[in-house]
């Protein structure tokens, strides 16, 4: 059988920059369509458990009077918590999605190497994967918002802005973690150290469950560098319609700068590792 049945196509050329990244994202989507059941636990169920435990369960104890009311600005604890949970869940998902799957692309399944043999470039492979992580965070975040609304945790349409902020924060974190993962040669203890010493402390002390002014004064500056704290502040002002323009601009700038730096690092690192 000769290879002539399919009509010839125009002389092939490499896809453009953005198109290449979209094709990479399409690969992840193809994979996800087949394997979504395996990841649904971490991306949807886990945030739901957080919502039930802290928002609904613990929240019932925080009845919106006295010091609690001062902290939440008088709204229900669930309403106050919801946008922060959205950001926290995005950042957690981002960290997870940009560790093991990235190492697998280089080492185990070697899917990145398969892509690198085609016209796609290392930068497109990195940006495509990052974009996919962003799209996935946005989608699972949207489901999360709907569920929170069912429990009465949504006060205004500002929550949509919170969702966008959460996605941006997730992508900022993902770009940096992907860069880190791309420097890792073997699983070893690098990822568990990352989760133990960076991700988990960040989720506990970024103002998600209580304002950071409750923290010891010496610890507070640590929260200021945490992208999750900036995202939480921003997402919360949006959801509660409590904007402070200068602060908001600062938080947004912090997240955008992180994303820019992370993208620069990760694209370079991918290009170098895929073409040694």
């Amino acid at each position: 059988m000769a290879l002539v049945e399919v009509p010839a196509r125009p002389a092939p050329d490499a896809p453009g920059r953005l198109r290449g990244a979209l094709i990479v994202a399409e690969h992840h989507w193809t994979w996800y369509r087949r394997n979504w059941r395996a990841t649904v636990v971490s991306s949807v169920l886990q945030p739901l458990l957080f919502l039930l435990a802290f928002g609904v369960g613990f929240g019932a104890l925080v009845d919106g009077t006295g010091r609690a009311a001062t902290a939440t600005g008088g709204v229900d604890y669930l309403v106050w918590l919801a946008p922060a949970l959205l950001a926290m869940s995005a950042v957690q998902t981002a960290a997870f999605e940009s560790t093991y799957p990235v190492l697998s692309g280089f080492k185990w399944q070697r899917g990145y190497h398969a892509m690198a043999a085609t016209p796609l470039t290392g930068a497109q492979i990195a940006v495509g994967h990052l974009g996919w992580i962003g799209a996935k965070m946005f989608a699972s975040g949207a489901i999360y918002v709907a569920v929170i609304a069912l429990f009465g945790g949504v006060q205004s349409v500002g929550i949509v802005v919170s969702l966008l902020v959460a996605t941006l924060a997730g992508m900022s974190v993902a770009s940096l973690v992907m860069w880190f993962a791309a420097t890792v040669e073997n699983e070893g203890s690098a990822f568990s150290a990352l989760f133990r010493f960076v991700v988990i402390p960040m989720t506990l002390f970024s103002g998600t469950f209580f304002p950071i002014d409750r923290l010891p004064v010496l610890v507070q500056p640590v929260a200021w560098v945490s992208p999750l704290w900036h995202a939480t502040e921003l997402a919360r002002s949006a959801a509660l319609d409590a904007w402070r323009p200068v602060a908001a601009a600062g938080h947004l700038a912090h997240l955008l700068v992180l994303l820019a730096v992370g993208t620069l690092l990760v694209t370079r690192r991918f290009a170098r590792r895929l073409a040694p």
Partner: protein
């Protein structure tokens, strides 16, 4: 500027260094359109490093390299758009189906969904995998995965196909099936570059080859030419019991050349039968004696003093 229609690959003084280790130490290579060209050599000879430079996934350290008339340093994506690559290690998507693997790979080349659907159906036939099209890749046999990897490398109708040790680890039946597919591609005019450490594979498939050792090319020619130039027509292989094993010097007067291996002697001569008769007259009684035609294995042994597959 070389004539693009003649030389698909042209390398001059090509070098690749990794830190202080030099994997490729200045090689010249020309591959013409339509030919099947082989890099033959033991592990660590620099074959794969050379292939990766040609495939535009590893920048060269020194020297010049042209692939399809373009420079891999500046035109990597455009070159990769027109070549097919079968890597040494399979990197299929284990969790996707056989068909999905072909389709998504076609998309990497920017091909339309319609085109890759039709192309995948054609390639499934070619690779004899049509019946497994909907199955996930993971449980497939090694031979099937290899055929799928080759089918995948053809999804963009490449002008040049690079195969890095395509049959390593396959059983003989799977190898022959694969060779047959590669032969069909050659008949369809697809230029192929193959690395292998199997002599029989190189003899079967390659029009022309270079023997590499320690990062340099030690010989170049067609399999027949190389055998004529570096070996004799026949080889007499002798095995002795440890007690009856003679010194190599005793055998040397009988033939053109003697190679001493740990387990046997190789006697190079135009006429193996006659050498065997002389051996008997000299009162030497080997445990076994076998006369065979010279192969590329003998060429390699002559050139490097080592066997290929230890």
């Amino acid at each position: 500027m070389p004539n693009v229609s003649d030389a698909l690959v042209q390398a001059r003084g090509l070098r690749k260094r990794f830190g202080s280790f030099e994997a490729v130490r200045g090689i010249d290579v020309d591959v013409a359109r339509g030919e099947v060209f082989g890099f033959l050599g033991p592990n660590g000879a620099g074959k794969s490093s050379t292939m990766r430079m040609i495939a535009c996934v590893s920048p060269r350290t020194e020297g010049s390299l042209q692939v399809l008339g373009m420079d891999p340093g500046s035109d990597g994506p455009r070159i990769r758009a027109r070549i097919g690559v079968v890597p040494q290690l399979d990197n299929l998507d284990a969790e996707l189906s056989v068909r999905e693997n072909l389709e998504i790979y076609g998309r990497y080349f920017g091909l339309s969904r319609r085109h890759v659907r039709a192309k995948a159906a054609e390639l499934l036939e070619f690779a004899q995998l049509a019946e497994r099209a909907g199955d996930p890749v993971e449980p497939l046999s090694g031979g099937m995965k290899r055929r799928l990897t080759i089918a995948r490398s053809l999804v963009n109708d490449p002008e040049l196909l690079l195969l890095d040790e395509p049959t390593t680890g396959l059983d003989p039946q799977a190898r022959h099936l694969l060779w047959d597919r590669l032969y069909r591609l050659k008949r369809d005019g697809v230029t192929q570059i193959i690395t292998t450490h199997y002599m029989d594979e190189a003899e079967q498939l390659c029009d022309r080859l270079v023997v590499m050792d320690g990062g340099v090319i030690v010989a170049e020619g067609s399999p027949t030419e190389l055998i004529e130039r570096y070996s004799t027509r026949e080889v007499l292989e002798l095995r002795f019991t440890p007690e009856a094993r003679p010194e190599a010097g005793v055998l040397e007067p009988l033939v053109d050349r003697v190679e001493e291996l740990p387990d046997r002697f190789l006697l190079y001569t135009a006429d193996g039968e006659r050498a065997q008769a002389e051996l008997a007259r000299a009162g030497l009684t080997p445990l076994s004696a076998l006369v065979r035609r010279s192969s590329l294995e003998d060429v390699f042994l002559r050139l490097t003093g080592r066997t290929l597959v230890d």
